[in-house]
């Protein structure tokens, strides 16, 4: 069941689906209705992601402010909630500068290539029961593949800017992304060994229920090492503070987006937070039980997706809060130390984790114990 069917069901329940379908059938164009429904899904997803991203920028500031005994934005709107809107308006009003010596086509293209995958990642993420755009059978592979596009775009941005700092920043970002995608994927594969499916819905379903009635059947309890590896690797993938080499403002001023201004800068900025949200959602999906939670049985059927969405968002925001909290506590590591950590510690540990998991799964499957 995905969101398309959910919409169809809702329309049917309202008694609106059949007549509308008949109208289209009369003209021999049922596919138009399908396209319209998919389009609605995409618009809802986009709106949801953009609003979340705006909220995240506000939340980031508030969390930083709370740690640093400040208030953060307070003036625009209640507790400064409208600050992201104002920022957006300000960025739209900024002059769009393209450097003289930049490669203009690539320079303009790069922000879009960063931004679009950041939205595309959400396609196979189950936000709740039924709340998934498309339950791909290779969902996890899709996610990893899509997020592997962003280093290319970053390299484009760094190269096209024709600036030493941005090139250095881009090189670092690419090196970092590549070396951390491997432990990330390896840690994710260990989960797949349990479920036997790459589909995100299957992974979430495998985590429903409890052991002994208390401990939820989340993979974090089966895969504690895998969880830690995945979390560290995903923070590195996001490029947040212990590992924010793409920016590292004290060394590279602003890294690969040093030359960008106005809306193009905003695209990078939005993509960064969309990425944060996406990665946290993936962490929740893989290790924290996805949208699973105690759903009371007396609830009507239509409320179940909403309740599961709430569980999902609570867990996701907990992970996001942790990322922000960590950001305010630790300094940045050095690029070579980061790569050392990635290749010398994370990759072997991930492989070890995979090996142990494989053994366990084989033993369990063959009923040796």
């Amino acid at each position: 069941m995905n969101a398309y069917e959910l919409i169809v069901n809702i329309l049917t329940a309202l008694g609106a689906y059949e007549p509308v379908l008949n109208i289209f059938k009369a003209h021999g164009a049922e596919y138009v209705l399908k396209v319209i429904i998919v389009f609605v899904e995409i618009v809802v997803l986009m709106a949801f992601v953009l609003v979340t991203v705006m909220f995240l920028t506000w939340m980031e500031r508030k969390v930083v402010a709370m740690v640093q005994v400040r208030y953060g934005p307070m003036v625009t709107g209640p507790r400064g909630l409208l600050q992201p809107v104002m920022d957006g308006i300000k960025l739209m009003g900024k002059e769009d500068i393209i450097p003289e010596k930049a490669d203009k086509w690539l320079f303009t293209l790069a922000p879009f290539i960063v931004f679009i995958p950041a939205i595309l990642v959400f396609v196979p993420i189950p936000f709740g029961d039924y709340l998934i755009i498309s339950d791909l059978r290779v969902g996890l592979l899709y996610i990893i593949a899509i997020s592997a596009i962003s280093p290319v775009a970053i390299l484009l941005a760094g190269w096209a800017s024709n600036n030493k700092y941005s090139l250095l920043g881009a090189m670092r970002a690419v090196a970092q992304d590549i070396s951390y995608t491997i432990p990330l994927a390896l840690a994710a594969i260990a989960v797949v060994l349990f479920t036997g499916s790459l589909s995100t819905v299957d992974i979430v379903n495998a985590q429903s229920g409890t052991w002994f009635g208390i401990i939820p059947k989340w993979f974090i309890f089966l895969q504690p090492l895998g969880f830690i590896l995945f979390l560290i690797a995903s923070i590195a993938e996001m490029g947040r503070i212990p590992f924010d080499f793409q920016e590292s403002e004290s060394e590279l001023v602003a890294g690969f987006f040093i030359e960008y201004s106005g809306m193009k800068f905003a695209m990078f900025f939005l993509a960064e937070y969309a990425h944060l949200f996406a990665v946290s959602a993936i962490v929740v999906t893989l290790f924290l039980g996805g949208w699973n939670g105690p759903i009371p049985s007396f609830l009507p059927a239509f409320a179940v997706p909403l309740v599961s969405l709430v569980y999902f968002l609570i867990k996701t925001y907990a992970v996001i809060f942790f990322a922000m909290w960590l950001r305010d506590t630790v300094p940045r590591v050095r690029i070579d130390q980061l790569l050392n950590l990635g290749w010398k510690i994370m990759v072997p540990l991930a492989l070890l984790n995979l090996l142990v998991t494989g053994f366990l799964v084989t033993i369990l499957a063959n009923g040796v114990i």
């Binding site: 930083v64 640093q68 030493k164 503070i241 590292s248 060394e251 300094p331 590591v333 130390q337």
Partner: protein, 382 residues
Amino acid sequence: METDELIINLGPVHPSTHGVLRFKLRMDGEIIKDCRIVLGYLHRGTEKLGEMKTYLQFVPYTDRLDYISAMPNNYAYVKAVEELAGIEVPLRAEYIRVLAMELNRIVNHIVSIGSLLLDLGATTMIMWGFRERENALQLFEMLCGARMTFNYIKPGGVREDIPDGFIPKLNEFIDDMEKRIVDYEQLINDNEIFLMRMKKIGVISAEDAVNYGMTGPALRGSGVNYDIRKYEPYSIYPDIDFRVCVRSEGDSYARYMVRIDEMKESLHILRQVVDTMPKAEVVSSPKYGIAPMTGTASTVMTYFPRIFTPPQGEVYSRIEAPKGELGFYIVSDGTTKPYRVKIRSPSFCNLTAIPEMVKGLKIPDLIAAFGTIDVVLGDVDR
């Protein structure tokens, strides 16, 4: 592998150069082959100004040298003038001066550590630091009416006596600060990433450090037990019990730890100064330090004539400023203005050791090492 050399200009407008300093780096990939420091972007001709202004008028300009810790700058200049003219200073004034200077040392080290952590990417420490700094600045404001550029210490004493309610507030600050330092240490000291960035980075041996003329916490981090407060005691430091904080490693972490230790020592000194400070006698008529018409003196200010002509001669006087040895060399030709003023500023001398420290390291290490040297560009370029 054969690689082209890349020349990178770090600065002059760069977030982590603490002002307008420019590093010209010859890079081999990410490795620094050679580092050259280009100075002078904040040159304001302070030494020349010293020749154009009278002895009294120049004091506010010394505030602008090292604006993070202006009080020792005031004092260093004033001490030179007092030695030149042989002015006696009331004991209470000396106590107030030491109190103000040690308070300023804490402020300086807070800012230094905070901006170091900011350079490393941790934004929290500087905000916590500025919370305490704000309290200290309010104390300064009570004391002299200004928050950063004090013009408080004057030849012959200090500008005004301690106001009512200052000592309780100071005690509050000291108690508060002791707890806050614990917080700082918990946040930073054992943080693995911080250790990774600081240990064995920017190492300079004791011999090299002395040869480069480094002083202050940067030198003591290399294991040289040199503190002018002990080595050539001035003011009331001989009567005060304090420890010189020394670390032997010579790396960035040692320099950072020396600063943390010195903050604790400064709190210790502050407590002693508050306890042993001589009582103010009835403050006689003049409201402000300089007795206007009469020759009377208050308890914190000896008589200092408005038209002040010291005898001919020259003097070099130095103190232990928070950043290192701050010296003023004054040549007097017997007129109302000095013939020559030379400032030996700690930031400048410490900065010269940077190329030696960072050879073979990476840009992030340069930033870290530079942060532990703790320079203020107003003090470097003068």
